[in-house]
């Protein structure tokens, strides 16, 4: 039993830290740490920088351009990048569609798509959810009709994160009405520039445009862009959902948010001459969430170790997702509460890159309440916490 990273891993952590300190553009870092809007180019710039070291998707197999890192290293990389204020490397390409392409795609698909994920040429988004098919994914209705070498796709996807920036979308579509609902689903890769695709913004509760509806009106998709077998898409979809493990705990982002929370509470006068962070009831709550984060970190390491030993991901990922999202929400709530009356301020203009004015309210207050509102999503997306509890009950408790 040894809870420490190895000396080798610690050296690697220093290496990452030095790299990020040297290479992360200050303008991008300031946007991230200041809760400002990130644009397409901000994400891609960082992907290209990471790619100079092969760090976009280092856990991939070597033959696809990866370095076969184990999850511990991946964790260290993500954590150090997050703490330093780097934009996240979004999962949709490297950690969602890529494993599917590697495992079930054909050689042509692998050779075309995978390098373009690494070099930032292709931005991917995810076409799973539909208005009537969220947690109950199998009830999806978007259909693809086969016409020779082409599928004609009609229907609607929704909650599509950053589809407005995306070059490609991976989609679950219905190719058959026969059998169980799961049986007639196929997995298509669709060029977002295809005629017939319309992206409509969904404004979120924080007033920001992060998610979208994607409409398909007779969109023609080459059959060559289908992954694996027709009507076998459910298998690939489940495979994909079984990935995404360490990131779901949001360890790095939560550590950064905790650091920020402490800074806000230390800078906030509480009355009586003490900063808020010294008021027992507020300090207690910070302490509790910090303890929760310590426990979550050990849990992540344990799950990594378990997966490593049995060579396959287990249902414990649901525990990480559940608790990780609760911690994200708890920290975002505390940061908002720390602002006191200023929590109400909404300054959408000040979130823009072009903004040159000063924002009102406390210096660290910008975007904090918006994040609290926005973060209600983290217990809803990627399998709602209700779904996670169902999974835990079924697969870990045998209920």
């Amino acid at each position: 039993m040894d809870l420490n990273f190895s000396a080798e891993e610690e050296r690697f952590r220093s290496e990452v830290r030095a790299f990020v300190a040297a290479k992360l553009p200050a303008a991008i870092r300031d946007k991230v740490l200041g809760h400002k809007r990130l644009e397409r180019e901000d994400f891609l710039t960082w992907v290209r920088i990471l790619n100079t070291r092969g760090w976009v998707a280092p856990s991939w197999p070597r033959r696809f351009g990866g370095q076969e890192w184990d999850p511990a290293r991946q964790l260290i990389l993500e954590e150090e990048c997050a703490l330093a204020g780097a934009p996240p490397v979004l999962s949709f390409g490297p950690r969602m569609v890529a494993p599917v392409i590697m495992t079930f795609g054909n050689q042509a698909q692998q050779e075309y798509f995978l390098p373009r994920i690494l070099n930032g040429e292709h931005w991917w988004c995810q076409g799973y959810s539909e208005p009537g098919a969220g947690s109950d994914l199998a009830s999806l209705k978007t259909r693809a009709e086969r016409r020779g070498d082409t599928y004609v796709v009609n229907g609607q996807k929704t909650w599509t994160t950053l589809a407005q920036y995306a070059d490609w979308i991976f989609c679950l579509v219905r190719t058959s009405q026969e059998g169980r609902p799961q049986a007639g689903i196929s997995f298509l890769l669709i060029d977002m520039k295809s005629p017939g695709i319309t992206v409509r913004p969904i404004v979120m509760l924080d007033g920001e445009h992060e998610i979208n509806e994607v409409w398909f009106d007779n969109v023609e998709v080459p059959v060559a862009n289908r992954i694996g077998e027709e009507n076998a898409g459910w298998t690939y979809a489940k495979f994909l959902l079984g990935h995404e493990r360490v990131s779901n705990a949001a360890l790095g982002p939560s550590k950064r948010a905790l650091r920020e929370l402490k800074a806000i509470a230390a800078a906030t006068p509480s009355g009586g001459g003490r900063p808020l962070i010294e008021v027992p009831r507020f300090r207690d709550r910070i302490a509790e969430v910090e303890i929760d984060l310590m426990a979550l970190e050990v849990m992540v390491l344990r799950v990594i170790a378990m997966d490593r030993e049995r060579h396959t991901p287990g249902p414990e990922a649901s525990l990480l997702k559940l608790q990780g999202s609760q911690i994200q929400q708890a920290i975002s709530a505390l940061a908002m509460e720390a602002l006191g009356p200023y929590a109400a301020l909404h300054q959408p203009l000040a979130l823009s890159a072009g903004w040159t004015g000063s924002s009102a309210g406390p210096p660290l207050g910008l975007g904090i309440t918006g994040r609290y509102f926005n973060y209600r999503k983290v217990s809803i997306y990627a399998g709602s916490n209700e779904i996670q509890r169902n999974i835990i009950a079924r697969h870990m408790l045998g209920l």
Binding site: G271, Q347, P348, N374, E386
Partner: protein, 404 residues
């Protein structure tokens, strides 16, 4: 004991609800928020016509008079309809201060409040005051027959749009209140947007000169007035939150009864049913406390009033958080989109908690007010002492109805 509303209250409620249901749609509300002023002139005119703007003003002063439960009824409806307009600020909080302590000349403004011509705003909180009523750093110094005000006021509801401001400032004998025209030299009002669509202002006073008769009441007598006003505000916010929770719970119920997953309405899932039972429980606890807060507005004992007001604000804040978060979660993706009213209720409920003192603030106030009575032999929770058990309306309070 009587938990029924009077016929007049039922009439106010019904006519206001009808008007808001027809007029104050989510799209209309969005448009008002987008405009940035936080007040639609047409809506405001109709408020005047419905008589609700004069509710906190006795008839002799041009209002129609009303008590705390009339205000409760109105605030519940405004909450239910997610109204942005600064009704509480003008018609209950500021009008209450002038009714209670304004000079006859100052009270002349009140008729205009009732007709909708005048809007008033309370500029009391400051950048570092964090809801502590006595943390006033703004200063007023006498210069001949005038007062000169310097300082900063923060997060003033309707502060940029109001026609007159009630400004607190520290003078030699304590905190004093001044009635000042909204458009004054040496005063800068910066309109800012709130996450709930309403308008707040940061106000800078740099040598603002006002005449001697701008003083409201006696010099140094501002703090009790501000405290009474804040109690009115808290009771109003509690009622607003109750209305909003009612509406949000109804929305959520409707959603789970129609939204289907795995072939059945999601309302049939027991885990959701049990959580919604808790939502109802907490909404009803909040309603109970909003009644108590309004009932206690008129009692003489400041301690008893403080206890009830802080208890109500704490509990309503807790209920609002639970009901709001759960409603969003149960709505799933729809809950975090701007399209449905759900997220707007959630945001408003969140910000009510941050207005006039959050849960921590009021728990502290409550505990402080409670410590004193520790050794009293027979503790009862609602009623602190037999002497103060009956809510005797204070004749100077805005809840009294001198006109009836």
């Amino acid at each position: 004991m009587d938990f029924t509303f009077t016929e007049e209250q039922v009439q106010i409620r019904d006519s206001l609800r009808r008007f808001l249901t027809e007029t104050y749609t989510l799209d209309r509300r969005r448009a008002i928020a987008r405009a940035g002023t936080g007040c639609d002139p047409e809506i405001w005119r109709q408020f005047a016509e419905l008589g609700i703007l004069g509710l906190g003003i006795p008839q002799p002063l041009g209002g129609i008079g009303g008590d705390a439960f009339d205000a409760l009824v109105v605030m519940e409806e405004l909450g239910r309809a997610l109204v942005i307009e600064p009704y509480l600020s003008t018609a209950l909080v500021c009008a209450g201060i002038l009714v209670r302590a304004g000079s006859p000349a100052q009270q002349q403004l009140l008729a205009g409040v009732a007709t909708g011509e005048n809007r008033l705003a309370l500029a009391h909180d400051e950048p570092d005051s964090r809801w502590r009523l006595d943390a006033v750093a703004t200063r007023a110094t006498r210069k001949g027959a005038s007062w000169v005000l310097n300082g900063r006021k923060a997060m003033v509801p309707d502060g940029a749009g109001a026609d007159h401001l009630v400004i607190s400032a520290r003078t030699e004998s304590g905190v004093s209140l001044f009635l000042v025209p909204g458009a004054s030299e040496h005063m800068t009002r910066t309109a800012l947007m709130s996450h709930d669509g309403s308008s707040v202002a940061e106000i800078t006073l740099e040598g603002l000169r006002v005449p001697a008769d701008a003083l409201i009441g006696v010099e140094g007598g501002g703090l009790p007035l501000v405290e009474a006003a804040s109690h009115v505000a808290v009771a109003g916010l509690c009622s607003e939150a109750v209305g909003a929770m009612d509406a949000l719970l109804a929305l959520t119920l409707a959603y789970v009864k129609t939204r289907r997953q795995f072939g059945v309405p999601i309302g049939s899932f027991q885990a959701l049913q049990h959580r919604m039972a808790d939502m109802l429980l907490h909404a009803e606890l909040a309603r109970s406390m909003s009644y108590l807060a309004s009932a206690k507005l008129g009692v003489r004992s400041v301690g008893e009033r403080r206890r009830a007001i802080s208890a109500a604000k704490f509990l309503v804040g807790r209920s609002a958080r639970l009901v709001g978060q759960e409603a969003v979660q149960i709505h799933g993706g729809m809950g975090v989109s701007e399209e449905l009213a759900t997220s707007h209720y959630f945001k408003r409920l969140t910000l009510i908690n941050a207005s006039f003192g959050d849960m921590d603030h009021h728990l502290e106030q409550f505990a402080a007010a409670t410590t004193a009575e520790l050794h009293s032999a027979a503790l009862t929770t609602i009623h602190s002492t037999p002497a103060t058990r009956r809510s005797v309306p204070d004749s100077r309070s805005p809840q009294a109805r001198p006109g009836r």
